[in-house]
C-alpha cells in the first residue's frame, strides 16, 4: 500500500480509492504533547489543502490539512480517550480519519517517502 506525504506533514495510505490519513513522526515531534484531537465528522466532505482537523498540544492548537479531497468514512475513536497515540504511534495507531478519494489524480502532487525525508532533512 503506497504512502504519500504533504509538505504540511500529513501522510495518507491509499488502497483502492480509500485513504487513511495521519500526521508524520516529524510533525508530532514538532507539536509536542498532544492533549486533544478535533476530528472531522463521518460523512463530512474534505478538500485537499484545507483544514479538516485540529490537533491541540499543551502549547497551541494546530490545523491539519487534508492531503486529498473526498468524503470521511471513519475516524479514529481511540483518540477520544488517548490523543497521545498521535505522539506514540504517529504512523499506525495514531491515524486520524479514513477518506473515500474523489480524485485519485490529486495523489500525483504528493511526495513519496524518499522525497519527504529529503524535504524534512532540508528544514
Amino acid at each position: 500500500m503506497p504512502r504519500y506525504f504533504t509538505e504540511e506533514h500529513e501522510w495518507i495510505d491509499v488502497d483502492g480509492g480509500v485513504g487513511i490519513v495521519g500526521i508524520t513522526d516529524y510533525a508530532q515531534g514538532q507539536l509536542g504533547d498532544i492533549t486533544y484531537v478535533e476530528l472531522p465528522g463521518v460523512g463530512d466532505s474534505v478538500t485537499k489543502g484545507e483544514s479538516c482537523a485540529v490537533v491541540d498540544s499543551v502549547k497551541a492548537a494546530s490545523d491539519i490539512y487534508s492531503p486529498v479531497s473526498g468524503r470521511v468514512t471513519e475516524t479514529n475513536a481511540a483518540l477520544e480517550d488517548q490523543p497521545e497515540l498521535v505522539n506514540s504511534e504517529p504512523d499506525t495507531g495514531g491515524w486520524l480519519y479514513r477518506v473515500e478519494l474523489s480524485d485519485a489524480g490529486e495523489l500525483d502532487s504528493l511526495m513519496h517517502k524518499g522525497a519527504y525525508d529529503k524535504f524534512v532533512a532540508g528544514l
Binding site: 492533549t35 486533544y36 491541540d56 502549547k59 492548537a61 490523543p83
Partner: protein, 381 residues
C-alpha cells in the same frame, strides 16, 4: 527575499543568553521569546511539568531584567511608581509589586527585594527595556538605576528544590546569614558557592517551593551543570513554565495583565499595601482606590473546562447568548487532566460556580468559574 527583508532578519535575530549552548547540548528546542533564543522544551512539556511538581526543575530565566535601585530616598522614589509599601520592606525580604501607569494600568509586574538598602528588582524580559526607560525617566536624579545585564537568573522549583540546593553546600555571604534551607517564602540572601557569589531568594513562578538564583553570566554554566548533575534536578523549558504558572493561577504579563488592566480587576489588590491605600501617592491612585471601594466592571477569574479541548487566549466567554468576557490564558492542565483558563468576565458572572461557555472554533465549551490557584501552592512559609 529583498534586501530590506534580509536586514529585517539581521535586526530581529534573537539574542543569545549565556546558557544557549548548554540548552542546545541538552536537546532543547530553542524558540525566539522576548527577543532571545530560549528553550521551550527538552524531553516534552508534560514530562517536564510533572517532573517539576514531583522533584526539582531548573529554569533559565536569564531573559528577565535584573535591576538595582540605590541611593538616598530609593524606597520613596520607588513608591512613586509602585503601590507597595517599599519603605516597610525589611532587608532580606521580597515582595510582589506592579509598575503602574498614570491611569493605574499595569505596565509590568515585578519582584522587589531589599538588599540592605539597595532594591533589587526582577522584571519581565519582554518589558524590561520599557521598564528601564520608565524608571530612568521617573526616579529622582539622586537615585541610581543599575541594569545587571551581565547576570543570569536561574529558577530551581519543586518539592526537592531545597534538598538539591543544600547539596551544593552554599555558605552565607553575610556574617549573620542563615543556611539557604532556612530561608522562607519571599526571603532572600546572598550566598557563596565556593568563590562564586549568588543572590538567592525563596520564590518562583510555579506554585511550588523553590528558589531563584542570580549569578554572573560567566559562572552560570558551572552552576547549571552542578545542579543538573543531581538526580532530582532536570532542566525545564518555557513550555512547562507556562503550564505550571497557569495551574498556580499566576498571571502572565502581556496576556493576563496589560496596560489596559488595573490591579483590582486583575485580582492583585493584595499588591496595594495597607499604608498606600490610606496615603495614596502612587500612579493611578484615585482610580485604583475607587475600584477597591466600589468594585470593577470585570474581574480575572479561573475557569475549569469540561472535555479535553483547550480554550485559548482571545476566545469569547458567554453566559447564555451574551458575551461576558475573554480568555487571556488557557491550556491543558497536566496535573488536573482537563483544560483550564484565565479570563476577564463581567463581575456579575465572576462568582465561584457560575456556569459559562467558551467559544472555540464555533464550538461552545462548558466552563465553570473556580477559585485560583487551580493546583494548591506549596510554598515554604
Amino acid at each position: 527575499m529583498s534586501l530590506t527583508d534580509e536586514l529585517d532578519d539581521v535586526l530581529h535575530e534573537p539574542l543569545t543568553l549565556p546558557l544557549d549552548a548548554w540548552h542546545r547540548d541538552r536537546g532543547a528546542r530553542m524558540v525566539p521569546f522576548a527577543g532571545y533564543a530560549m528553550p521551550v522544551q527538552y524531553e516534552g512539556i508534560i514530562a517536564e511539568h510533572q517532573w517539576t511538581r514531583a522533584h526539582a526543575g531548573l529554569f533559565d530565566v536569564s531573559h528577565m531584567g535584573q535591576l538595582e535601585v540605590s541611593g538616598e530616598g530609593a524606597a520613596q522614589g520607588l513608591e512613586g511608581l509602585l503601590p507597595g509599601d517599599i519603605a516597610a520592606l525589611k532587608s532580606g525580604r521580597q515582595r510582589y509589586s506592579l509598575l503602574l501607569a498614570e491611569d493605574g494600568g499595569i505596565l509590568d509586574d515585578l519582584m522587589v527585594t531589599n538588599r540592605g538598602g539597595t532594591y533589587y528588582i526582577v522584571v519581565n524580559g519582554a518589558t524590561k527595556w520599557d521598564d528601564i526607560g520608565h524608571l530612568r525617566e521617573h526616579l529622582p536624579d539622586a537615585i541610581t538605576l543599575h541594569h545587571l545585564d551581565e547576570h543570569a537568573l536561574l529558577a530551581l522549583q519543586g518539592p526537592e528544590a531545597a534538598q538539591a540546593l543544600v547539596r551544593l553546600r552554599l555558605s552565607p555571604a553575610l556574617a549573620d546569614g542563615r543556611p539557604v534551607e532556612a530561608l522562607k517564602f519571599m526571603e532572600a540572601a546572598p550566598y557563596m558557592w565556593g568563590a562564586i557569589p549568588l543572590g538567592v531568594s525563596r520564590s518562583g513562578y510555579t506554585g511550588e517551593d523553590g528558589f531563584e538564583i542570580s549569578v554572573r553570566g560567566a559562572d552560570v554554566t558551572a552552576l547549571a551543570d552542578a545542579l543538573c548533575a543531581l538526580e532530582e534536578v532536570k532542566p525545564i523549558g518555557l513550555g512547562a513554565r507556562d503550564s505550571l504558572r497557569l495551574e498556580a493561577g499566576l498571571p502572565l504579563y502581556g496576556h493576563d495583565l496589560t496596560p489596559e488592566t488595573d490591579p483590582v480587576s486583575a485580582g492583585l489588590a493584595f499588591a496595594i499595601s495597607k499604608r498606600r491605600r490610606t496615603e495614596g501617592g502612587f500612579p493611578g491612585a484615585a482610580r485604583i482606590l475607587h475600584a477597591l471601594a466600589e468594585g470593577t466592571p470585570a474581574r480575572r477569574v479561573g475557569l475549569a473546562l469540561e472535555g479535553r479541548m483547550a480554550a485559548r487566549e482571545g476566545a469569547a466567554v458567554y453566559a447564555g447568548d451574551t458575551e461576558v468576557g475573554r480568555v487571556t490564558s488557557g491550556g491543558f492542565s497536566p496535573t488536573l487532566g482537563h483544560p483550564i483558563a484565565m479570563a476577564y468576565v463581567d463581575s456579575d458572572q465572576a462568582a465561584e460556580g457560575t456556569a459559562l461557555a467558551i467559544d472555540m472554533r464555533g464550538k461552545r465549551l462548558p466552563a465553570r468559574v473556580v477559585p485560583m490557584p487551580f493546583v494548591p501552592h506549596r510554598y515554604h512559609r
